[in-house]
């Protein structure tokens, strides 16, 4: 305390110094400048009177202050001149530019320059981010137009003429292949060899729209598509003008039908002859969203007119998001999906118009242990992929199923998700989409009998893939490669692919038909593998100079505000230091990839530290021995309460990745002790009612409304829960109470009743508030009203 007394004394001293010693000097100098400038200004136009002179003098003063470092020399000169004039002009000038105003002007200028720096920095930050983004989201040249079959490919007959494409959102590999799976029928198909299982590696970002782009175009979508996935109304992400296997079918004059996730409808406007989109907005809907797809299946299976039938089920993803992969809803959903597979497969066997139909069951992405997706963890990037058809039995791949759980979710052979496109194109006899980076899955080569046909499939795939490489790296495949190069030690991947490609052509010329497949196909596969790697890595080819420039601009912005910020931080002493440390720590945290997913841990950590700091800070003032209360002082109790509340909030919901499955209050405690939850719910409603009561007039009837409304709302909520998720009412008293409740009043009517009552009460309250004419109280009441609405909505 003595120190602070000392400090305040010295502060006062300094202020005095500023006012009495430095102030007059600075003011005098400004005056001199102003006088000089004014004199100069008044000389050429002596006719103009005082007002203009005054203005210009003020301006001059400002300018001189603002541009001090630049005008240093001029100032000195002016000073010298002014000193001569000072004696004559002093009297006049002092009348005009009095001290207080002058010091005010200089003070404002000091702040203003800081303000300009902050403003400039705020402009620079978005510029920096933009420049950085242009370097971070690489531009990929897309080949326009549809691919067409070349003459040399004509003699490869298609294996299938129709495709049923069933996407189950977030169908992770183990959901189908493991012992815990509910896909009993599908597993029996794997054992029979009529279903060929894969794990299809999906690249990040593992959200639906980029994945669908990968599946249909065969290209690797960029991170920009994540943003477009969220901005679903945006139509610029449409694939209408890109080469997809759907577009190829459409171009052939075939008909397509689609049921399920309306992302397809947005991606392919006008593509489908019959369609019924479902939205994934209502995440808590596990049932309707899938029934809306399944109800069309029987009809479409009986229709012979389409050649592609697409289903996209969302329910499994919804369960994942709401309750995680180990949810009790999951096995039932597995069985439901398995039943659809069964229905489709029986149709493939029985319906004559489906006898040459390929049935693909796949997930667009997986999910992590918390049931979320978007990242690149093993669970998220490992969806299942099955090719199903009675015709596939001829391949003779009878695999064991189910197989044991493994940690990386890699069941059977792992292929790339983009491989679906060329495989489908090959099997359906379509040209491979121009931007595809996929490789024909070699297991299906045996669907053709002749080696020549197999080679043609691979050769066509290689040609298409190398065209995309050529488009990205112009000139890499145009020139004829000198033969005789050693393919094992070339400079780059592209050069190696080049070399192998020329060797393939050599082999084509040299070898006879019988030996061709065995010698050429390994080389072709190698070319394909290299080309795919090269092209996949271009998706993450960053423009480093732009990244650097962006960083430079943002650094400049940070440096610009540094003086202002450090000044502000220094003024608040430890709090400022704490803030600075927090910002630095937060920045450093971003380098730890796990902390990006566990960001909340940082805030919990820093928050408890901050509360402790506040406690000590208050203690430094309060816990003097005179109070004799020490630890039990009110402030200390408050900080303790804050710390406890923070601790409870911390465990309210387990978030993030690592501890997501651990017990918390909202999931573990409430499901075990629903009475606690309901007590808290009731308390919340009572609190809302109490706040409402404050706004209502003092008459009996409206006051009654404040009691009736929360009671009604609570009853509605309990009824809703009893209908929707009865497991939350496990408490015997509550559930019995709910059973006694008359069921004939539908939920919708109850909701209407509650909202009507709410509207009435709100109107009365607003009217009442208007009458009482308490200004300033309105906004507060609006908050309460919003509060009540939010409570009820929850």
């Amino acid at each position: 305390m003595a120190k602070s007394v000392r400090a305040s004394v010295s502060k006062r001293n300094r202020a005095n110094l500023r006012k009495n010693v430095f102030g007059p000097v600075a003011d005098a100098r400004t005056e001199r400048l102003a006088a000089k400038l004014q004199e100069l200004a008044s000389q050429p136009r002596p006719s103009q009177e005082k007002p203009t002179g005054e203005q210009s003098s003020e301006k001059a003063g400002e300018d001189a202050n603002g541009a001090n470092p630049v005008m240093n020399e001029d100032e000195m000169e002016l000073d010298a001149k002014a000193s001569k004039n000072r004696v004559q002009k002093a009297g006049r000038v002092q009348k005009r530019n009095r001290k207080p105003r002058n010091s005010m002007v200089s003070g404002r200028m000091a702040i203003l320059s800081g303000h300009w720096a902050v403003l400039l920095a705020n402009l620079l930050v978005p510029v920096g981010i933009l420049v950085f983004s242009t370097g971070f989201f690489p531009y990929k040249p897309l080949l326009p137009g549809l691919a067409i079959l070349e003459d040399i490919d004509q003699d490869v007959p298609p294996v299938f003429d129709k495709v049923i494409f069933m996407v189950v959102d977030a169908l992770r590999s183990d959901f189908v292949y493991s012992h815990e799976s509910g896909f009993q029928f599908t597993q029996s198909l794997i054992r029979d060899g009529t279903a060929i299982p894969f794990t299809a590696r999906a690249s990040s970002p593992t959200v639906t729209m980029p994945r669908l782009k990968a599946i249909t175009t065969g290209s690797v979508p960029s991170f920009l598509d994540v943003i477009l996935n969220i901005a679903e109304s945006d139509t610029s992400s449409t694939l209408a003008y890109q080469d997809t296997w759907l577009a190829q079918l459409k171009a052939r004059g075939d008909r397509l039908v689609m049921y399920g996730d309306d992302t397809w409808l947005k991606l392919f406007p006008g593509m489908f002859d019959r369609a019924d989109g479902t939205t994934s907005f209502f995440v808590s809907d596990f049932i309707e969203v899938d029934q809306n797809v399944t109800r069309h299946v029987a009809f479409e299976l009986s229709q012979p007119d389409w050649s592609a039938f697409i289903m996209h089920y969302l329910g499994l993803d919804h369960i994942g998001h709401k309750a995680g992969p180990k949810s009790p809803f999951m096995p039932a959903k597995h069985r439901e999906m398995d039943d659809v597979v069964n229905e489709v497969y029986s149709a493939l066997q029985q319906e004559p118009h489906l006898n040459s139909t390929l049935f693909i069951l796949c997930g667009d992405h997986g999910m992590n242990e918390a049931g979320n997706h978007g990242g690149s963890s093993a669970g998220e990037t490992s969806p299942a992929l099955l090719f199903i058809s009675p015709k596939l039995e001829q391949l003779g791949t009878q695999l064991q199923s189910p197989i044991g759980q493994n940690g990386d979710f890699e069941y059977y052979r792992t292929v790339e998700q983009v491989d679906i496109t060329p495989t489908l194109a090959g099997l359906l006899g379509l040209p491979i989409s121009r931007n595809s980076l996929g490789i024909f899955i070699p297991e299906f080569l045996n669907m053709w009998d002749s080696d020549g046909q197999k080679l043609k499939i691979l050769h066509r795939n290689a040609r298409q893939l190398l065209t995309t490489v050529e488009a990205t790296f112009p000139g890499s495949f145009s020139s004829e490669n000198p033969t005789g190069l050693d393919c094992e030690v070339p400079a780059s991947d592209i050069a190696r692919a080049q070399c192998l490609w020329s060797r393939v052509h050599e082999l084509f010329r040299e070898t006879n038909k019988e030996m061709a497949f065995r010698t050429i196909s390994p080389a072709l596969h190698e070319v394909l593998g290299i080309a795919q790697n090269v092209m996949s890595s271009t998706a993450s080819n960053y423009d480093v100079s732009r990244l650097g420039l962006g960083l430079l601009i943002t650094t400049a912005a940070a440096l610009l505000v540094l003086p202002t910020v450090s000044h502000q931080c220094a003024r608040s002493y430890h709090a400022g230091l704490f803030l600075a440390l927090m910002v630095i720590g937060y920045g450093a945290m971003m380098f730890a990839s796990s902390y990006v997913e566990e960001e909340q841990q940082f805030w919990y950590w820093i928050c408890s530290g901050w509360i402790f700091y506040l406690h000590i800070k208050s203690g430094a003032y309060k816990s003097s021995s005179h109070h004799g209360t020490g630890l039990f002082h009110r402030t200390n109790a408050a900080t303790l309460g804050l710390l406890m509340a923070q601790r409870i909030l911390r465990r309210w919901n387990q978030t993030g990745q690592k501890f997501a499955a651990e017990p918390d209050i909202a999931h573990t405690l409430f499901s075990r002790k629903p009475a606690v939850m309901w007590a808290l719910v009731a308390l919340t409603y009572m609190d809302s009612g109490y706040h409402f009561l404050q706004g209502l007039p003092a008459a009996v009837l409206p006051r009654l409304g404040a009691f009736v409304l929360p009671a009604l709302a609570l009853v509605f909520k309990m009824n809703f829960v009893a209908n929707d998720s009865p497991e939350l009412l496990a408490d015997s008293i509550l559930s019995r109470l709910m059973e006694a409740w008359p069921k004939d009043l539908s939920l919708v009517w109850q909701a209407r009743l509650v909202f009507a009552c709410l509207t009435c009460c709100s109107l009365v309250a607003i009217f009442n508030r208007g009458n009482s004419k308490i200004t300033g109280g309105k906004s507060e009441f609006a908050f309460e009203l919003a509060d009540v609405h939010i409570d009820l909505a929850c």
């Binding site: 305390m1 003595a2 120190k3 602070s4 007394v5 000392r6 400090a7 010295s10 502060k11 220094a570 608040s572 002493y573 430890h574 230091l577 730890a592 990839s593 796990s594 902390y595 997913e597 566990e598 841990q601 919990y604 950590w605 408890s608 530290g609 402790f612 700091y613 000590i616 800070k617 203690g619 430094a620 003032y621 816990s623 003097s624 021995s625 005179h626 020490g630 630890l631 710390l643 406890m644 601790r647 911390r650 465990r651 993030g656 990745q657 690592k658 501890f659 017990p663």
Partner: protein
């Protein structure tokens, strides 16, 4: 206790006990540096066992740590208590002001170096008693007061409440032995000191520095827990305790350097006195 001071003078700024210096004896000076290093190396030596069986290891280490800490305080630190020797000390303005403030205060810190010098002439029994009494007191208070308080603080700062209770208590016991035992031994139950301790306002010395280092180290020890490295040592009490031990050693050494020694962390906003946090 502080009634002798008028509130008008400076209500909070009553003369608080000065920083505690390590006893001047050569053994004490040497061992005071050896001790943190010894604790750290022992901790490092038992680290594998700690990761494998945290509860058993922590429990088994507890008596040894207690012994080492008691040895350290007896050898290196001046005990609390109004030893008669303290009153016979050379007139020192602060020390005499405090000792005159009350015979009611049984346990009082005093100018250690001086008392040591002058107590040389007293009989051995009183010297032993002067050391034994604070030793017992510090041991008892560490076990029955500091450990529960630290355990509660650990929980408030994020330690699990429904599980790992044994680990939390053992971790708190280790931290209490590191931080509270020397503090109690040196300062006894002087309310003014403990208010300063609670308010992080003690002048820096080996005892306070190591206690603050223990707390800060434990706080920083929480950082590696959420990382996805999936190492067994990322389990709850281990990183916290590692941070506490490292913080203890660093704190006890750093706070004795001449630049830091005797300075306080100021939480009152002051522009003159630019003291930085010692840790």
């Amino acid at each position: 206790m502080t009634s002798s001071l008028s509130p008008a003078q400076a209500p909070v700024e009553k003369p608080s006990p000065p920083p505690v210096a390590i006893l001047p004896a050569q053994v004490a000076q040497i061992y005071s540096f050896v001790h943190p290093a010894l604790l750290l190396s022992l901790y490092a030596f038992r680290f594998k066992a700690l990761v494998a069986e945290p509860v058993q290891e922590l429990l088994a280490d507890l008596p040894w740590l207690a012994l080492l800490q008691l040895l350290y305080v007896i050898v290196c630190l001046p005990p609390a208590g109004s030893a008669p020797a303290a009153d016979s000390s050379v007139p020192d303005s602060k020390a005499s002001a405090r000792s005159s403030s009350g015979p009611g205060a049984v346990l009082r810190s005093s100018k250690p170096g001086l008392r040591k010098r002058h107590s040389g002439g007293k009989n051995d029994w009183s010297r032993v008693w002067a050391k034994l009494m604070p030793t017992f007191l510090s041991f008892a208070l560490t076990s029955f007061l500091a450990t529960p308080v630290l355990a509660i603080l650990l929980v408030l700062f994020g330690a699990p409440l429904t599980t790992h209770n044994v680990e939390t208590v053992l971790c708190a016991a280790h931290m209490a032995l590191l931080s509270a035992t020397p503090l109690i031994y040196v300062h006894g139950v002087d309310g003014a000191v403990w208010r300063e301790v609670w308010g992080i306002a003690r002048p820096a010395d080996a005892v306070w520095g190591s206690a603050l280092g223990t707390g800060l180290g434990a706080w920083f020890g929480a950082i590696p827990i959420p990382l996805d490295w999936d190492r067994p040592w990322q389990a709850f009490p281990i990183t916290i305790l590692t941070g506490a031990y490292i913080g203890y050693a660093l704190g006890s050494v750093i706070s004795r350097t001449p630049f830091i020694y005797g300075k306080r962390i100021q939480f009152v906003p002051e522009e003159d006195d630019d003291e930085k946090k010692t840790n």
